[in-house]
Structure formats: structure tokens, C-alpha cells
């Protein structure tokens, strides 16, 4: 039985300014010469991070009531449709929402403009009721005028993600970037050995209630993300070789910064939001020390053909190979490119490390762990949509 630390013991060290904190990349280097037991002795917290486009993101906003009041039953923010089925003046603006007439400016851009303190045109319509007599309003809102704005992302921080290639003779425009014909390029998305859920593949320390870095401030993991899947095949190092677990996260959008929350538009695909997430992993024991020591050459993912329906798998590569600039798939050498920002992810891991060292960020024990043995359902098409 080796060392076993508690969350409270680590937090005590953080408060005393004595905690040893490394980034996941630093600990992977340390692991070349130190055993998991030695790492568990010497290191208290490891910071992980990612900065990628995460489409399943959005914000809850409460506008406050006008005089006379309106029950908003159709809502536009800078022309972008926002959800109208949440009481009178609450809304949810999804990152990928857009007006088809103006597809390059969407929900993610509204969210970024709100964060940047810019004025947003709010236009809303209602049928008029006894208690909400007004039928129309057109006004200006911003960060200061709204009551709350809360980032709530149902699916972020995918644990691993496939590499995208395109075997067809036509360019394919995807959320994994523009894929050149005839497998002339391959794109990959996660931050590899720095990526949060790749450093805790069994989610022994990450669960509901985990305090995280989100968009430039402190946020929380609030639930397993949608499409949370723990049934993907794992490699010999215990890492799933395709997209598997996910996180639902939440935080105060008013405190966030567009340095870590960036709207994006993908040609012939649509709008998305780059989200900066950093997660501290407490090194409670040698087992967790071993998990956070994982290196790019030990993390594998699946190469999928995005040009073909169903994105069939073509092979498996490591992140070390992906980072080298070239992979080999079915005997063909393919140039690689990232589509999420490793330099930003590193910056987040460093900021998180520093705020733990400064005693500003304490680790939190999950109030509930994530479910195990979950899998994915697909959408069945039932004829006529009728019950028989």
C-alpha cells in the first residue's frame, strides 16, 4: 500500500502555499525518470487543458422585465434566434444557432459579443396576455444590463476524438476543417497528453461538482456530457481509442474572457465556439500518478474517412505521430494538422497551475461520480412516425 492523499490534505497544502503543481506535459516528462509512486510522493496536483471548437455550447440569459412586461415567445439577438420556451424573459442561446440569411454570425458570436461587453440588439415578440400585455420589444442589451448570463455547455471536452481524412475526389467541408481530396491531409483535435479526460481515463477524480477553469474563470462540471460513452475500446494504456466520455460544464459568463471563448465559423458547415477548459487532477495515489503520466506515444486514436457515409475507420495512430506532421494510413503518407489550439491549451494549464500555486483555486472532490457502462443509441427512423 503506497501513498494515499485526501482532497482535504491537498487543499491544506494549497492554502499553505506548499502544494506541488505540474502541468500534464511536465508530469509526463517527469515520468520518464520517476515511478508512479515517486510522482505520487512529490506531486499534488496536475493541470490539464484543452482549447477546441465545442459545438454543444450555449448560454442562459435573463434579460429582466420591461415596463409594460412581455412574455417573449420569439426572440432574436442580433438577428440570431434564441430559445423562446423558458418563461417570460429567460432564454438559451445555442452556440450553433444562426439566421440562415446571415450564416457567418451565429450564437457563438452573440456569446462572444456579450462577453466582450458589446451592445446586442434584442428583439422579441409575444401574443400579449393579461399579465404580459406587451406584444413587441426592440432594445439594446449588454453584459451590464442583463441579470444573469451563464455559460452552460451540454457536451464539451471530449475524451479523445477521431482523426479526419477524406478519400473522395471532392473537398469536404467539416467541423474538422477543410479536408482535401484523396487523403491529402488529416486533421486531429485533442491536446493529447495535456487533454483533461485522457489524463483520468476512468474518471476517478473528475465528476459532478469538479471545479474547473472555464472560459477564463472558475466553473464546474455539472453532469456527464451528452453522448457520454464509456464503452469504446481501450488500448493497452487504458485510453479509449475514439471519442468516448464528455462533460457538461457551467460557469458565470459575465466573468469570462474572449481570450478563452472564441466564436468560429466553418465554411459550408456553420458556427461553433472554441471553449477553453482546464481541469486539475489531484494526485491522490500512485494509480492516478500513472494515469497523468501518459505520453503522446501512448495515446492512440482512430483515423476516420469523413468523405464516406458513416465515417468508416481506416486505421489507428498515436498523438506522437500526429504531432510529427505526418501519419501513415493504409500505406499512404498523409500530412497532419491540428484543429484545436495546443498553445492556448498550454496557456490555460499554466494559468490554472499558477492560480493553484497562489492559493486562489482549490480542488474539489466530486459530489457524485459519473455512471459506468454507458453506451450510445442512434436515432431510429420509425415509419410515418406513428404508433402502431
Amino acid at each position: 500500500m503506497g501513498i494515499q492523499k485526501t482532497y482535504e490534505e491537498i487543499n491544506e497544502k494549497i492554502r499553505r502555499g506548499e502544494a506541488v503543481v505540474l502541468t500534464a506535459e511536465e508530469v509526463s516528462q517527469m515520468a520518464l525518470t520517476a515511478s508512479p509512486e515517486e510522482i505520487a510522493e512529490r506531486v499534488d496536483v496536475v493541470t490539464t487543458a484543452t482549447f477546441g471548437a465545442m459545438c454543444s455550447s450555449g448560454a442562459i440569459v435573463n434579460f429582466g422585465h420591461a415596463n409594460p412586461p412581455i412574455r417573449m415567445e420569439k426572440i432574436r439577438l442580433n438577428g440570431v434566434p434564441a430559445y423562446e420556451g423558458l418563461a417570460a424573459v429567460d432564454t438559451y442561446i445555442g452556440a450553433t444557432a444562426c439566421d440562415p440569411e446571415n450564416p457567418k454570425y451565429g450564437g457563438a458570436h452573440v456569446i462572444q459579443d456579450l462577453v466582450d461587453g458589446k451592445n446586442i440588439e434584442l428583439e422579441a415578440w409575444g401574443k400579449g396576455t393579461d399579465c404580459y400585455p406587451r406584444k413587441h420589444i426592440k432594445t439594446i442589451i449588454n453584459k451590464e444590463t442583463v441579470n444573469e448570463m451563464i455559460l452552460f455547455n451540454p457536451r464539451n471536452a471530449y475524451q479523445n476524438y477521431p482523426v479526419a481524412v477524406n478519400s473522395t475526389s471532392q473537398m469536404k467541408y467539416t467541423y474538422m476543417g477543410n479536408l482535401l481530396p484523396n487523403m491529402r491531409n488529416a486533421t486531429y483535435s485533442t491536446s493529447g497528453e495535456l487533454s483533461p479526460l485522457l489524463n483520468d481515463p476512468e474518471m476517478k477524480t473528475i465528476g459532478i461538482g469538479t471545479r474547473i477553469f472555464l472560459g477564463g474563470t472558475q466553473g464546474f462540471v455539472v453532469w456527464p456530457g451528452t453522448q457520454f460513452n464509456t464503452s469504446k475500446p481501450k488500448n493497452e494504456f487504458g485510453v479509449p481509442v475514439g471519442n468516448s466520455a464528455t462533460l457538461a460544464v457551467m460557469g458565470n459568463l459575465k466573468e469570462m474572457s474572449s481570450e478563452f471563448l472564441q466564436a468560429a465559423y466553418y465554411e459550408k458547415y456553420g458556427v461553433s465556439l472554441f471553449v477553453g477548459i482546464g481541469i486539475p487532477i489531484p494526485v491522490l495515489n500512485a494509480d492516478i500518478a500513472k494515469c497523468v503520466s501518459i505520453r503522446n506515444e501512448q495515446i492512440e486514436t482512430t483515423v476516420c474517412d469523413y468523405g464516406v457515409e458513416g465515417s468508416p475507420a481506416l486505421g489507428r495512430v498515436t498523438y506522437a505521430e500526429l504531432r510529427s506532421g505526418e501519419i501513415e494510413v493504409q500505406g499512404k503518407k498523409i500530412r497532419t494538422a491540428p484543429v484545436s489550439s495546443l498553445s492556448k491549451a498550454r496557456k490555460i494549464a499554466e494559468i490554472l497551475k499558477q492560480s493553484i500555486l497562489d492559493g486562489e483555486f482549490e480542488i474539489s472532490k466530486p459530489v457524485q461520480m459519473f455512471p459506468k457502462n454507458t453506451s450510445l443509441k442512434s436515432l431510429k427512423e420509425i415509419k410515418g412516425g406513428e404508433q402502431s
Partner: protein
């Protein structure tokens, strides 16, 4: 003599379509021409992206010859702008840049742009999710 290699964007007035400029650049000024990109519509303006290789004097004289014939000739690097302040170094542009002008620094993983390698294929313009590339090519 020291040879120089430079890339230029040439713009042709509508009436110039029948003149063999490239022949004269080769024959009269001993300039090696590599055509990187061409857009020519008879009766309208045309543009050409060329890599010119020659001695400093010959390049200077060749360009002067083009300008005398109302063909504007500007160095390519002035025609490409990249808003590096807003760049998040995601790497999407490097996926489509087969000329190798846009590459990730393999240590810092920040985007590096080498205008000398750019062939103005313009694939980076729609590939950038933040729309940070502006190429002033057609005007």
C-alpha cells in the same frame, strides 16, 4: 552575378491581352518565370502571380518594362495580411496550405506564416474559422 528570386502580383489592363510579356521577360531580361497562378479574361483585366528569378539588374529592368506597358507589378508579400493578434493558432489553415507557407511551430505550436512560400491559392481564407486572412489579389 547574384541571382534573386521574388514573387510578384501582376495586373494587366484590358488592352494588354495580346502582348507576349512573359516572352520578353525571358528573352530580353533573362528572367526565369514560374507561373504560380493566373486569372485572365479576354477584354477584361487579368492578374498573374509569378515567381521571377534573375540578377538584381535584370529583375529591376524587367519590372520597369512591365510598368512602362501599364502592367502593375507589386511584391506578393504586400498582398497578404494575417491578423496574427487575433489568431488562436488552431491550425485549421495549415491543413489546407500544401505550399507550406502556413505551418505550426513544432515547439511552441503557434502559427508561423512564411509569405515567401505562399502561392496565393487562397484556401486559407475560408479555412480560417476566425476569418483572419485577407488577400488583396483581384482588387
Amino acid at each position: 552575378m547574384k541571382m534573386q528570386k521574388k514573387r510578384y502580383v501582376l495586373k494587366f489592363p484590358p488592352q494588354s491581352g495580346d502582348q507576349p510579356f512573359s516572352y520578353h521577360l525571358v528573352k530580353d531580361f533573362d528572367i526565369r518565370i514560374n507561373i504560380l497562378r493566373a486569372e485572365v479574361w479576354p477584354g477584361k483585366t487579368g492578374s498573374l502571380v509569378l515567381e521571377l528569378e534573375g540578377t538584381t539588374t535584370n529583375l529591376k529592368n524587367g519590372i520597369a518594362y512591365l510598368q512602362e506597358n501599364q502592367v502593375s507589378c507589386e511584391p506578393l508579400n504586400k498582398k497578404i495580411t494575417w491578423d496574427h493578434v487575433r489568431c488562436i493558432s488552431c491550425g485549421n489553415c495549415t491543413a489546407v496550405c500544401f505550399a507550406g507557407a502556413l505551418q505550426m511551430d513544432p515547439v511552441k505550436w503557434e502559427l508561423q506564416f512564411d509569405p515567401e512560400k505562399c502561392i496565393v491559392c487562397e484556401l486559407c481564407v475560408p479555412a480560417c474559422p476566425l476569418n483572419l486572412f485577407k488577400i488583396d489579389f483581384r482588387e
